[in-house]
C-alpha cells in the first residue's frame, strides 16, 4: 500500500527558455508539473513514476492575464482562482473555471493544467494495489482496456471543465518548444484517444491561451453529483455569435466528460445555424446531440445515465444562452 511519493529529481526553472531546454533535454521519464493537483496524486498511486519533475510554477512568462490586440491572453500557469476572480477574463470562462473541483484545488491548480488534464477512467485512477489486483489496463501498461476489452484503444475520458467553454469561445493556444512556437485552435490540441489525448509534442509547452473578442454569448453547464469536488458527469458548453436576435450565424456546442477529447456536436451546431434559436429548435438540437454521441461505462453512474443526460445538458446550456440573449435584445430595445 503506497501512500508516499516516489523519489524523483525536482527542477524549478524561472524562465520559459530554461523550461523548454530542460524538457527538451529530459528523457521520456521527465514530466512537467503545473499546479500538481492531478499529477501528485497520480504519482502517489504510482500511475507515474517520473525520474524528473519540472515545476512550471516560477516561469514568469506563463503567468498572468492581460488584454491586448483584441484578445484576452491568459498565461497557462495562472491559478484557476485568479481566472475566476479576474475582470479581464470573459465571464463565461470565469464561471466555468469556478466549477472546477473545490476552492482548495483552485488555489493550486492552473488553467493550463486543467486544459492538459490527463484522461480519467474507473480503471486507471485507482491506488496501485487496486490496479495490481484488478490487472493493469491498457493505459496503465497492460494489454486490455477493461471498459471495452474487445477494442484496441483506451476509452479514458477527457474531464476538463475549462476546455469546452474555451473551445466554444474560439480560444487559441500558444505552444512553445526549444525549436520554435506555434499557435493552434484549442480544439486541435486534443485527440480522441485515452492514452495519447494531446496532439502537442512532448517537448512543447502550452504557454498561454488567447481568447478573441468576438461578439458572442457563451455558457457552460456542468452536471455533477455534488456541488463541489466532483468531475462532470456530462458538461456542455455552447456559444453563438449573433447578427440579430434569434438568428445565429456561428454556433458551437462542446461536450466534456464523454469521450477522450472534448466533443463538438457539429450536427446540432449546423441544425441551429439553419433553424435559428427557438424553444423548439433547442429541444431538437439537444436530441440530435443525444443521438450522435456515445458513452462508455467508465466514470460515475454508468453509461446509460450519462447518455440520457447529454440532451439534458445541451438543452439546459442552450436555454440559458437563449434566455441571456433575449434579455440582451430586450435591453437593446429599450436603448
Amino acid at each position: 500500500m503506497t501512500t508516499h511519493l516516489p523519489t524523483f529529481d525536482y527542477r524549478r526553472p524561472t524562465s520559459l527558455g530554461e523550461a523548454v531546454r530542460l524538457i527538451s533535454s529530459g528523457g521520456s521519464s521527465t514530466v512537467v508539473m503545473a499546479g500538481g493537483t492531478d499529477l501528485v496524486p497520480k504519482m502517489k498511486r504510482r500511475q507515474l513514476t517520473p525520474s524528473t519533475v519540472i515545476s512550471l510554477s516560477r516561469v514568469t512568462e506563463m503567468q498572468g492575464i492581460r488584454y491586448q490586440d483584441g484578445a484576452t491572453t491568459i498565461g497557462s500557469g495562472t491559478l484557476l482562482r485568479e481566472v475566476v476572480a479576474s475582470r479581464l477574463v470573459p465571464e463565461p470562462l470565469r464561471l466555468a473555471a469556478a466549477t472546477v473541483a473545490s476552492p482548495h484545488v483552485r488555489n493550486t491548480a492552473t488553467i493550463g493544467g486543467n486544459l492538459c488534464l490527463d484522461t480519467r477512467c474507473n480503471y486507471i485512477d485507482m491506488p496501485e494495489g487496486w490496479r495490481i489486483a484488478n490487472g493493469h489496463c491498457l493505459k496503465d501498461g497492460g494489454d486490455t482496456c477493461w471498459v471495452a476489452p474487445r477494442q484496441e484503444r483506451c476509452w479514458a475520458v477527457h474531464a476538463s471543465d475549462v476546455s469546452p467553454i474555451a473551445i466554444a469561445m474560439h480560444t487559441n493556444v500558444r505552444l512553445v518548444s526549444e525549436t520554435g512556437e506555434r499557435i493552434i485552435p484549442l480544439e486541435d490540441l486534443y485527440a480522441n484517444d485515452g492514452i495519447n489525448n494531446l496532439t502537442k509534442r512532448r517537448d512543447e509547452l502550452l504557454v498561454e491561451l488567447k481568447i478573441p473578442s468576438i461578439e458572442m454569448r457563451a455558457s457552460y453547464y456542468k452536471l455533477r453529483r455534488r456541488g463541489a469536488i466532483d468531475f462532470a458527469l456530462v458538461g456542455a458548453a455552447a456559444s453563438f455569435a449573433l447578427e440579430e436576435a434569434g438568428s445565429a450565424e456561428d454556433v458551437r456546442i462542446v461536450l466534456t466528460g464523454i469521450a477522450s477529447a472534448p466533443v463538438r456536436v457539429f450536427e446540432a451546431e449546423q441544425f441551429l445555424v439553419a433553424e435559428g434559436l427557438s424553444p423548439g429548435s433547442i429541444v431538437e438540437a439537444a436530441g440530435i446531440a443525444g443521438s450522435c454521441v456515445r458513452t462508455q461505462d467508465n466514470t460515475d453512474l454508468g453509461s446509460r445515465y450519462r447518455k440520457w443526460m447529454i440532451p439534458v445538458a445541451v438543452q439546459r446550456v442552450l436555454e440559458g444562452l437563449a434566455m441571456n440573449t433575449n434579455e440582451r435584445s430586450a435591453d437593446r430595445g429599450t436603448d
Binding site: 474507473n122 485512477d125 495490481i132 484488478n134 455534488r226 456541488g227 466532483d230 445515465y305 439534458v312
Partner: protein, 791 residues
C-alpha cells in the same frame, strides 16, 4: 443565588472544544515515540485464494527493514463476538477478500517499508469466489469458512411471535414489498492508527484510535498470550468512529507483535484505501416485508425477511442479523410478528456495525411501506403512524421492555414545525415532503462476552485541595462522552464541568467501560458516574453534617460550597469540606457502577435488541427533485428526538445534526460497492460523502420524556436520529415526483430510470424484484409476553 441546576440541561461547549479548534488534540497518528518504526501491511490481490508460500527473504534483506511477520507469527483466531472467532491478524492459509492483510513490515521509513512490501513473495492458489448474496445462498461454491463447497451461509434465524398467517388471512389490506439497502461505510475523517511499544520489563502499550479499548485489550491478551496486566491499551481521542473502530484490527495486533519482536515502537496508520478495505460498515440488506392492516389502519401482522451480505468475516454480523429483526416492534405495535433472516459470507471486506447497526435498513423498508399502505388505505401517513404507536411503559410482541417514549410528541412537533399537513401531496411538481420515525437502544442490554460484572464502572478521586478526578474507560469518539461524564459529576457535586479532571480510555488507569458502541455510554457510564458522584456527595455531606450538627437532608452542595439549605453563607467551601472528610475518613475515593436490568426474553436470540431504554425520533424532509437529471436537493430537515433529558442541549443538537448529515449521505450518495471483487472507488473522490454545499438547514427539536432509569432521565442520541432520515427522503421523493425508489442510495440514475419507466406506462418503481431462494430454518415459536394483546 446559587442554582442547584447549573450544569445539567445547560448549553456547554465540549471540554475539548478549544483544543479541537486549535489543533492541539493528540490523535493516535500524532503519537511519535522516539525511534518509532513505520508499519505497513501487505494485502491480498485475490478475493479468495489459498496462501501456498510466503517468502520474505528479499524484503528482510532490504536495508532499513527491522521486522516482518506473517500469519504464522500470529496463529490465534479471534473476533469481536465469542461466537464469531473467525479472523487472523494476518491471513494464515486463506485470503478471503481483496485487501486482506497477509504480512506486516516494520521499517525505518515509509519509503523502505513500501519498497519492502513489493519484495515479499507470496504464492497464491486462487479459488472461485462468492461475490453476491444470490451466489452465496443459491450456488455451490467453495466455502469461505470450512472445507469443500456449499452455501456460504454464516447464520440464519426464524422466529415467530403470535400467529402471523392467521392474522394476515383476516387482514383487510396487505402490503408486500422488496427493498434493498446497498450498504455503505463510515468514512470517518481520521484513518485508523495504532502505535505499540514494548518495555524491557515486558509491558506492552498500544495507543489506538479505537472505540473499544477493553475489547482490544482482551483480544491482545488472547492473540499475544500475554497476561492482561502486561498490556495497556490507550484509546486516543478518535477522529470519527461511527462503529468503524469497534473491532480489534490487524494493524493493532501487528503493531503490538512487531514492537515485541523488534523492541522498538511501531506505528501503523492506514491509508484511505486501506480504511475502505478494513470497512466493518453497513451491511447490504435485501428485505422482503409483508404487513397486514385492518380497515381502519391498525397493523395486524408483520412478516419480515432479511438477507445480509456480510462480507468475508463475522465481525458483529450475528448481532447485526438479529438487529434487522429486533427493533421493528419498538415504534409500532405489531400484534403478530415473524422474522426470518440470514447472513451470508461473501469474498468482500467484512461488514460490521455502523451507526444504527442493522436497524437503518429495516427502518427504511418499514417507513416506506407505511407510506405505500397509507395511500392504499386512504389514511394520511401521519395519522397511520400515530394510530399504531407503541404505548410508553409496555412490552413488545418480541419481549422488548419499553419504558419512556416521546415518539408521539416527536411526530406532532415535526409535523407542526414543518407544516407537513399543508404541504404533503400539495406542493408543486418536483417538490416533496416526507416523514418517517425511528427508535434506537440506549445501550445493548448485554455485554459482548457473557459475564456477571458491571457494564460500566467509574472512579472518582478527590485531592486535598478539593480537585476532583473522574476516571472512566469510556472512549471519546467525538460524541462528547468525556464532557458527558463531567456534566453528570459536576452537577451532582455542585461544581463546574471545567473544575474536573477527566482520565478516560486507558486500561491501566481507568475502571472498565465496555466501549463507545450501541449508544451505551451516556446511559451506562453516565449512571456509573452518577453512582460514584453520589457516593462522594453522601460521604462529604455526612462528615459536614456531623461537624455542623445538621441533618444531612438539610445540607446542599452547590456553587462549590456545602451549606444549610436556604442559607448560602452557612457551612463551608468545597475544599474545606473535602479536607474535613479526608481528615475524618481517610482518602476520598469512590466508585460507581452500572448494570442493566435483566431484560432478555424467553427465547434464543432475545439478547439482541434489549436495552434499558429506547430513544425515539421523527423526521420530516423537504426537497426538490429535478425530473430531467434525477438530482435531489434537500431544502430543509426537521428532526425531533426524544433523548429523555438533554444533559447538554448543545451536544444533543450536534449529534442530531451529525445523524441527519450521515443519513442524507446514505440516502442519496454513499455506497460501498464492488465491481466483481474490486471496490469501485476506495477514495473520497469516488465514495461520495456530502459536502457542506449538500447540507441543508436542520431544525432540531429536543423532546424530553424523562426516562426513569437514565442518568437525570437521559437516553441516547448518538445513533437514533440517523434512522428516520433515509426513509423520510425516499418518501419525500415520492411526494415530489410520484415514483418509488425502493433502493438506497437513491442516486439520480435510479430516479431517472423510474421516471422513464413511468412515462412509458410501466412500473413507477425502481427496486429489487425478488429475493434469493433460501430455505430458512424451522420457525421457533415464542409466546408473546403475558398480557400482550390485551388492550
Amino acid at each position: 443565588m446559587v442554582s442547584p441546576h447549573l450544569v445539567v440541561g445547560e448549553r456547554h461547549p465540549r471540554l475539548d472544544a478549544m483544543d479541537q479548534t486549535r489543533g492541539a488534540v493528540i490523535y493516535a497518528d500524532d503519537v511519535a515515540p522516539p525511534g518509532v518504526l513505520v508499519g505497513r501491511l501487505l494485502r491480498s490481490p485475490h478475493a479468495h485464494a489459498s496462501v501456498v508460500r510466503i517468502d520474505t527473504t528479499h524484503a528482510q534483506a532490504l536495508d532499513g527493514v527491522i521486522g516482518i511477520i506473517t500469519g504464522e507469527d500470529l496463529p490465534t483466531r479471534y473476533g469481536i463476538l465469542p461466537i464469531s472467532q473467525d479472523e487472523y491478524a494476518l491471513a494464515l492459509d486463506t485470503v478471503r477478500y481483496v485487501g486482506e492483510p497477509v504480512a506486516a513490515i516494520a521499517a525505518t521509513s515509509a519509503t523502505v517499508a513500501e519498497r519492502a512490501l513489493a519484495l515479499i513473495e507470496v504464492e497464491y492458489e486462487a479459488m472461485a469466489s462468492t461475490l453476491s448474496l444470490r451466489a452465496a445462498l443459491e450456488e455451490e461454491l467453495p466455502l469461505l469458512h470450512g472445507d469443500g463447497v456449499g452455501r456460504n451461509v454464516h447464520r440464519s434465524v426464524a422466529l415467530e411471535f403470535g400467529d402471523v398467517d392467521g392474522a394476515l388471512r383476516s387482514s383487510h389490506h396487505i402490503e408486500e414489498d422488496v427493498f434493498f439497502f446497498r450498504g455503505n461505510t463510515h468514512a470517518a475523517l481520521e484513518a485508523h492508527s495504532a502505535t505499540a511499544s514494548y518495555s524491557p520489563q515486558g509491558k506492552l502499550t498500544l495507543t489506538s484510535s479505537t472505540q473499544v479499548p477493553h475489547y482490544v485489550h482482551r483480544t491482545l491478551e488472547k492473540v499475544l498470550g500475554l497476561p492482561s496486566g502486561k498490556i495497556r491499551v490507550i484509546a486516543a481521542p478518535v477522529g470519527g468512529g461511527f462503529g468503524g473502530k469497534t473491532d480489534p484490527f490487524s494493524h493493532e495486533i501487528a503493531a503490538a507483535k512487531l514492537a515485541m519482536l523488534t523492541g522498538r515502537p511501531v506505528k501503523f496508520t492506514l491509508s484511505r484505501e486501506e480504511v475502505f478495505y478494513t470497512h466493518r460498515g453497513r451491511h447490504p440488506v435485501l428485505m422482503w416485508l409483508k404487513t397486514g392492516f385492518s380497515a381502519d389502519g391498525n397493523i395486524t401482522a408483520v412478516h419480515f425477511r432479511s438477507f445480509l451480505d456480510g462480507g468475508a468475516y463475522g465481525s458483529y454480523g450475528v448481532a447485526t442479523l438479529y438487529y434487522t429483526g429486533a427493533l421493528q416492534a419498538t415504534t409500532y405495535r405489531i400484534p403478530n410478528y415473524r422474522f426470518e433472516g440470514v447472513r451470508a459470507f461473501t469474498n468482500k471486506p467484512p461488514c460490521g456495525p455502523k451507526r444504527g447497526n442493522g436497524t437503518p435498513q429495516p427502518r427504511f423498508a418499514i417507513e416506506c411501506q407505511l407510506d405505500k399502505a397509507s395511500e392504499a388505505l386512504g389514511i394520511d401517513p401521519v395519522a397511520l403512524r400515530l394510530r399504531n404507536l407503541v404505548e410508553p411503559y409496555s412490552s413488545t410482541v418480541n419481549h422488548l421492555r419499553i419504558t419512556s417514549s416521546g415518539l408521539k410528541e416527536c411526530i406532532e412537533r415535526v409535523v407542526a414545525a414543518s407544516d407537513f399537513d399543508a404541504r404533503h401531496g400539495r406542493l408543486a411538481d418536483g417538490r416533496g415532503i416526507g416523514i418517517a420515525v425511528g427508535s434506537y437502544m440506549s445501550g445493548a442490554g448485554l455485554p459482548i462476552y457473557w459475564n456477571d460484572m458491571p457494564q460500566s464502572e467509574v472512579e472518582i478521586r478527590v485531592d486535598r485541595g478539593g480537585g476532583v478526578t473522574v476516571l472512566s474507560m469510556a472512549a471519546d469518539i467525538g460524541q462528547g462522552s468525556t464532557s458527558m461524564l463531567a456534566t453528570v459529576v459536576a452537577h451532582r457535586l455542585g461544581l463546574r464541568m471545567e473544575d474536573l479532571n477527566l482520565v478516560t480510555g486507558d486500561t491501566d488507569l481507568t475502571p472498565i467501560d465496555l466501549g463507545s458502541y450501541s449508544s451505551r455510554v451516556t446511559f451506562m457510564a453516565g449512571n456509573a458516574a452518577l453512582d460514584a458522584a453520589t457516593a462522594v456527595r453522601q460521604q462529604i455531606l455526612s462528615v459536614v453534617g456531623r461537624k455542623l450538627e445538621v441533618d444531612v437532608a438539610d445540607l446542599e452542595l452547590a456553587g462549590a460550597r456545602v451549606f444549610v439549605r436556604g442559607d448560602e453563607e452557612s457551612g463551608m467551601s468545597w475544599s474545606e469540606a473535602v479536607q474535613l472528610t479526608i481528615a475524618s475518613d481517610g482518602p476520598l475515593l469512590a466508585t460507581g457502577s452500572y448494570r442493566a436490568p435483566e431484560l432478555a426474553g424467553p427465547y434464543r436470540g432475545s439478547g439482541v435488541g434489549i436495552s434499558p431504554a429506547y430513544s425515539y425520533s421523527a423526521c420530516v424532509v423537504l426537497l426538490a427533485c429535478d425530473r430531467d437529471t434525477g438530482m435531489v436537493e434537500i431544502e430543509r430537515v426537521w428532526l425531533a428526538h426524544d433523548v429523555g433529558k438533554a444533559l447538554n442541549p448543545l451536544l444533543v443538537e450536534g449529534q442530531i445534526e451529525g445523524g441527519v448529515y450521515m443519513g442524507l449521505g446514505e440516502a442519496l450518495f454513499e455506497e460501498q460497492s464492488f465491481r466483481g471483487a474490486h471496490h469501485r472507488g476506495p477514495s473520497l473522490l469516488d465514495y461520495k460523502i456530502p459536502t457542506a454545499l449538500e447540507m441543508p438547514p436542520v431544525e432540531t427539536i429536543i423532546v424530553e420524556s424523562d426516562d426513569p432509569e437514565g442518568p437525570y432521565g437521559a437516553k441516547e442520541v448518538g445513533q437514533g436520529p440517523l434512522l428516520p432520515v433515509i426513509p423520510a427522503v425516499a418518501n419525500a421523493i415520492h411526494d415530489a415526483i410520484g415514483v418509488r425508489i425502493d433502493e438506497v442510495p437513491i442516486t439520480p440514475d435510479k430516479v431517472v430510470a423510474a421516471l422513464r419507466s413511468a412515462e412509458r406506462g410501466r412500473s413507477t418503481r425502481f427496486g429489487p424484484s425478488g429475493v434469493p431462494a433460501f430455505e430458512f430454518p424451522e420457525i421457533t415459536r415464542v409466546e408473546p409476553p403475558v398480557g400482550f394483546g390485551v388492550t
